[in-house]
């Protein structure tokens, strides 16, 4: 379970998170929505301990992330797969080497036979061709890079998967492919997922629960049905764009 209570974070004078309360139960897929620059990715980075909050508590499996010692944090991170917005693939390494780095168990990481099998399985899970393994990130399209990023995140069989804008910059068809992938991974691997996105349509397709982060706070959270029925002005405004009436330019 991931628990976030009263988390505040500011960068210089800019308040990014202003008392966020947010809980994700085991096995859930939660979409964290919000306009650009509202601190969705910052919140996600608190969960893996890449950023420390100014105040408040972030707990994963009951452990307070900010209080963990180096080795404890390393152990916690091995249970979390993080999918970065632009893949964050190591460009000097092949796809195989990138995904292999995701195998967090040192003994398994050193076993090349296991690594070959595991990487091949992860590549197949994200619907990429086996020969992709020998390519470098620069030789891949944006959608393929995102899928390799997901492959790397699942290579260590994590308990949690955190997606940072997995569909941003992709065309609708590729966005749907990634959304389906997020959904199928949650079902097949039984992982708990948090997906940061501003793609409302995708969030409704994938998530069991949604939360809207604006002005540094969660203003609404609930099931897709509860979300659709919400009367909170920020939620209405956010949903309007995707589910409102289309006005044609000409």
């Amino acid at each position: 379970m991931i628990e976030i209570h009263g988390v505040k974070k500011r960068f210089g004078q800019q308040v990014v998170l202003d008392g966020v309360d947010f809980v994700v139960q085991d096995g859930e897929t939660v979409a964290l929505l919000g306009p650009s620059g509202t601190g969705k990715s910052v919140l996600l980075k608190h969960i893996v301990g890449l950023i420390r909050q100014d105040s408040g508590v972030v707990k994963v499996d009951g452990k307070e992330v900010a209080r963990l010692k180096r080795e404890e944090l390393r152990a916690l991170r091995s249970t979390i797969g993080y999918v970065f917005q632009n893949g964050a693939l190591f460009d000097s390494m092949t796809v195989f080497e990138n995904i292999r780095l995701g195998i967090t168990d040192e003994a398994k990481y050193r076993d090349m036979e296991y690594c070959r099998e595991r990487v091949a399985k992860c590549i197949a899970l994200v619907n990429l061709a086996p020969e992709t393994a020998d390519k470098y990130p620069a030789q891949l399209s944006g959608g393929m890079r995102k899928r390799v990023g997901i492959s790397r995140a699942i290579a260590g069989s994590p308990k949690y998967l955190l997606y940072d804008e997995p569909t941003s910059g992709l065309d609708p068809v590729n966005s749907d492919i990634i959304d389906d992938l997020v959904k199928s991974l949650a079902t097949e691997l039984g992982v708990t997922s948090i997906m940061v996105t501003h793609d409302v349509r995708g969030a409704f397709r994938v998530a069991d629960r949604l939360a809207l982060l604006t002005s540094g706070r969660i203003v609404q959270q609930g099931t897709p049905k509860e979300f659709m029925a919400s009367t909170v002005p920020e939620v209405r405004e956010f949903l309007e764009r995707d589910f409102g009436n289309i006005t044609f330019a000409a």
């Binding site: 893996v48 390393r74 993080y82 632009n86 964050a88 190591f90 780095l101 967090t104 260590g156």
Partner: protein, 261 residues
């Protein structure tokens, strides 16, 4: 008068705070690096690759610069020679100039540009494209994967390149001086040995090693603390090269005072 004093205090205070913040972050990075040394299995193969890239890749530019430096020193020696100075002194002058100063300092400055810029740009790009964050989320130490191999490769290769620069400078100086003065091979080698102390060679390597510490640690620090996209990478790269060059010149003076007097 009061207003002027007030205006000066603020930027001075900001400068001091900024400098202290840099020192603090640099110390943390060095501590991380020392901790990363325990993961030999990770950094050793990466350090070998890095050493090959920065070492072998730098040989042509080092040969070129040291060759010309030795030749110019010889030609200027010829220009300044008057009739009553024995010719063998040319050998002493060229060898000592190259080994004590030109070899290590020119190598340091050239490699501050070549290796320092490369390290800062590589790490800076990795920082802004979240590759360093990705390593951390995978439970891996960025220090043992990225910093230790680069620093160790530099610490081994820069002193080695300094020795290559010294030998090249001496040979080119030897050849060039014979074009402007009637110095025989015997005069040159006699002069070279006349003022030679084995400590001169150690001093040259000590300088090379000290410059290597400056270049590698500074450039890794600048690269690692890059912020804000492509502009940030540019800033870090320039900062790394300028800071390394200034530190090399300061260390050059400091080492001369400490070790030669």
């Amino acid at each position: 008068m009061t207003a002027t004093t007030f205006d000066l205090r603020r930027p001075a205070g900001r400068f001091v705070l900024g400098a202290l913040a840099h020192i603090g972050r640099l110390s943390l990075l060095v501590a991380e690096m020392i901790r990363g040394l325990s993961e030999v299995r990770i950094w050793f193969p990466l350090a070998m690759t890095e050493a090959w890239k920065v070492g072998v890749g730098s040989i042509p530019i080092i040969l070129l610069v040291a060759g010309f430096a030795g030749a110019v020193t010889a030609l200027q020696t010829g220009y300044q020679f008057s009739g009553n100075i024995p010719y063998y002194v040319a050998g002493s002058l060229i060898v000592e100039s190259v080994v004590l100063e030109l070899g290590p300092v020119l190598t340091g400055l050239i490699l501050a540009g070549r290796i320092g810029a490369r390290y800062a740009a590589e790490l800076g790009t990795m920082r802004v494209t979240e590759q360093i964050d990705a390593l951390e989320t995978l439970g891996r130490s960025p220090a043992s994967h990225l910093i230790v191999p680069r620093v160790l490769a530099g610490l081994v290769m820069i002193p080695a390149l300094t020795v290559i620069a010294n030998v090249t400078g001496i040979i080119s100086g030897w050849v060039a001086v014979q074009a402007v003065l009637p110095v025989t091979d015997y005069d040159f080698t006699y002069g070279a040995r006349f003022f030679w102390r084995p400590f001169d060679a150690y001093y040259s390597v000590i300088k090379g090693f000290s410059f290597a510490v400056c270049i590698t640690v500074t450039s890794c620090y600048f690269g690692f603390s890059t912020e804000q996209g492509a502009e940030g990478v540019g800033k870090s790269t320039t900062g790394a090269v300028v800071a390394s060059c200034v530190m090399i010149l300061l260390l050059d003076t400091l080492l001369a005072k400490l070790l030669l007097h």
